[in-house]
């Protein structure tokens, strides 16, 4: 356990690099070319076959800034991500806490909670499209039965935005709940017992025992969820395709449109790089504390 500052090749770090090598090589073999190529494309003129035909400087980025709606698309992407991740985290945490309590039928409840995750996102989105349908869908039928007057969810900008977001949240809840549950299981019971001896309330225990010890897992899960949600393409693509009147377009649906429908690989790569920068900044900012703890 000797560790001297500035020395890279200690036995410990040598072992660390050895253990990381297979994973790193694996990722580099597959992802080095695709990622470098995306970054290159964003600074080049790219023909319809995806070949670089000449240096373009920041031309691709400038062409995006000229789009009148581009600013609002970025704002919407961030809003989409922030709201959806917050909701997933909150609901996931509540479920994890509930399932951490011992009660009869807990095993069944735990299995049932996982189900939304067990279906692939495109199929889940189709399922929700069918559920949202105003004529044959059972959601509005049930809501009407209960005396509400629901809108045609996907027809209007605001309701479509939230209807899309709910599907994304719904798909993400089980993952969150499961990750938190596993984190909760790792908290030694003794700590709670010690707190109880000191006469702590449930809320106190949650705030000063559960949350701090769950902190690492919480940070990782939300960070990963941010990356996921920002790039969640399938839900919007299947439910509204960015409509009505652009109200559900986020960066990733724009990337899709530019790359696969308009065959404009340059601007689409530029958007991918913008996405990358946004996510990188968020990750560095967000994970700072996590690393500070870890490195000590």
């Amino acid at each position: 356990m000797m560790y001297k500052k500035g020395k890279i090749w200690t036995t410990e770090s040598r072992l660390a690099y050895l253990l990381l090598l297979p994973a790193a090589v694996f990722l580099i073999v597959f992802m080095f070319y695709p990622i470098v190529f995306v970054i290159l494309m964003s600074f080049f003129k790219v023909n319809k076959l995806g070949n670089l035909v000449g240096f373009f400087g920041t031309g691709n980025f400038e062409s995006l800034l000229k789009l009148p709606e581009f600013g609002s698309v970025i704002v919407r992407s961030c809003l989409w991500t922030a709201l959806a991740v917050a909701a997933k985290t909150a609901i996931g945490l509540v479920i994890a806490l509930l399932l951490n309590v011992e009660f009869k039928g807990r095993k069944l409840a735990r299995t049932l909670i996982i189900i939304p995750w067990a279906s692939s996102i495109p199929i889940s989105a189709m399922l929700w499209q069918w559920t949202y349908n105003n004529d044959f869908g059972l959601l509005n039928y049930t809501l009407r039965f209960l005396g509400f007057n629901p809108p045609v969810w996907l027809a209007f900008p605001r309701s479509a935005f939230f209807a899309n977001m709910w599907v994304d949240i719904w798909c993400g809840i089980p993952f969150m709940a499961l990750v938190f549950l596993a984190g909760l299981q790792a908290i030694p019971q003794e700590l709670y017992e010690a707190a109880e001896v000191d006469g702590a309330t449930s809320l106190f225990k949650f705030r000063f025992v559960t949350l701090p010890l769950l902190g690492g897992v919480l940070t990782v899960a939300t960070l990963l969820s941010i990356l996921w949600t920002f790039n969640d393409f399938n839900v919007i693509y299947i439910l509204t395709k960015g409509g009505p009147a652009n109200s559900t377009d986020i960066l990733i649906t724009y990337i899709y449109k530019y790359a696969f429908q308009y065959i404009k690989f340059g601007p689409s790569a530029a958007m991918a790089v913008i996405t990358f920068v946004i996510l990188m900044v968020v990750s560095i900012f967000y994970a700072r504390n996590y690393f500070r703890e870890g490195v000590q």
Binding site: P157, T240, G243, A259, F260
Partner: protein, 410 residues
């Protein structure tokens, strides 16, 4: 440590090198999974072709239609284009701009070319056939003969009739209309063409001029649609949420008096054995305008880089024989593209007859590489009018200006 990295890189290079080794000669076809076309059809076709042509392999890359364009783009941009592919004919200009298409005409046998209905050669660019028609169909009007009593002859007459039968309380709507941004702008095209309009003006040499959706015909068509949606409310509520299949479902469930869609609608109505009476008719024109429907064709294209062009042509000869085409046409619900099947008794029903009868006056999608972007610009503005965000004239002016600006920068 360094040694092992070099070792791994060496292995990777070797694997990559090996993969470059030549493949056995075979024809690869990107094949569309049409509704109604069973997976067995492709399997049988492949087996029969290989049996009739020993030594030639056929690989059918069966692809869901909604993902077809993306997959084709990936294959082409990924440097692995197939030899043949089904495409929506409107993609042809985009593919030509990529420089990957082979003029297919020179490879086709004369008997095959002669057997195709000449009106369907949408994929003929400057006199050369690039796309061999695979399926072609005009869009038609499905109407409830038990509710409406007679076919509306004009759009105006249709509106009057629909106002009488619409009854939102009983969930009965005059016309089921799509309004969600979809891959195609079909609903607007029906009304635009019925009003004698088109998306673009034409220059003297036949090329596309300025965008024309903001001329009298274009604005008239959209105003009419807006009136149906917002003023007279003869459509289902929440039009902007509806995709094509959802509109069809509304008609199938007996909740709409009229819908406009393709020939496959009839197959669906027959499959579900609907309890009401329905019929088909040409899409009615506006008063004083000529009847005109939308014609959508799919075509088979050949790729420049193909090393098996002769074999690919052989496959087309095989596929376009009456035996295989008849089965295909029956399953997919389009009228035949080959002359030799035109008089086949299977295609003498009203649905096929109306589809064929409309061909002469029908208009196709514009053939231009930047059409997908133009399509989106028009759609977004149409939706804005439905939602009350823009006036009709303003919306169409915006769309036309944006499209002209887009095409000018090319």
């Amino acid at each position: 440590m360094k040694k092992s990295i070099w070792g791994i890189m060496l292995i990777v290079t070797l694997v990559i090198g090996l993969a470059f080794a030549a493949h056995a000669a075979k024809v690869r076809v990107m094949w569309a999974e049409y509704d109604g076309l069973t997976p067995e059809y492709a399997t049988n076709l492949q087996a029969a072709f290989e049996k009739a042509n020993p030594g030639t392999e056929l690989e059918i890359i069966s692809t869901p239609w909604n993902e077809f364009h993306d997959r084709l783009v990936t294959f082409i941009a990924g440097g692995n284009a197939p030899d043949l592919s089904v495409i929506g004919t409107r993609w042809i200009l985009e593919l030509m701009e990529m420089g990957v298409l082979e003029p297919i005409e020179q490879h086709l046998s004369k008997s095959l070319l002669d057997n195709i209905d000449p009106a369907l050669f949408e994929g003929k660019i400057k006199g050369v056939v690039y796309g061999l028609p695979v399926a072609a169909g005009t869009r038609l009007m499905y109407w409830r003969s038990d509710v409406l009593g007679k076919v509306p002859e004009t759009m105006q007459e249709m509106l009057t009739m629909l106002q009488k039968v619409t009854n939102p309380e009983k969930k009965f709507y005059g016309i089921a209309m799509t309004g969600q941004k979809y891959v195609e702008l079909t609903e607007y095209a029906y009304f635009l063409f019925a009003n004698g309009g088109y998306f673009f003006d034409f220059n003297k040499d036949g090329s596309y001029g300025k965008c024309a959706v903001n001329n009298e015909a274009g604005i008239g068509a959209l105003s009419f649609m807006n009136d149906m949606v917002n003023k007279y409310k003869v459509t289902q509520p929440g039009v902007t949420a509806y995709k094509r299949d959802e509109v069809q479902n509304l008609f199938i469930s007996g909740n709409a008096a009229i819908m406009m869609t393709g020939g496959f609608g009839a197959s669906l109505l027959n499959q579900t054995k609907v309890p009401f009476k329905w019929d088909v008719a040409p899409i009615p024109p506006f008063e004083g305008k000529p009847q005109s429907s939308l014609i959508v064709t799919d075509a088979m294209v050949m790729f420049k880089d193909s090393k098996v062009k002769a074999e690919a042509a052989k496959f087309l000869d095989f596929f376009y024989s009456d035996e295989w085409r008849l089965q295909f046409d029956k399953l997919v619900g389009f009228p035949p593209v080959t002359k030799s099947l035109a008089s086949n008794e299977f295609f003498q029903t009203p649905v096929y007859k109306v589809m064929v009868q409309q061909i002469a006056g029908a208009k196709p999608w514009p053939l231009m590489a930047e059409w997908p972007e133009c399509n989106d610009l028009i759609w977004d503005n149409i939706e804005a009018t439905f939602l009350g965000q823009k006036e009709v004239k303003q919306a169409m002016d915006d769309a036309a200006a944006a499209i002209d600006a887009l095409r000018a920068t090319k």
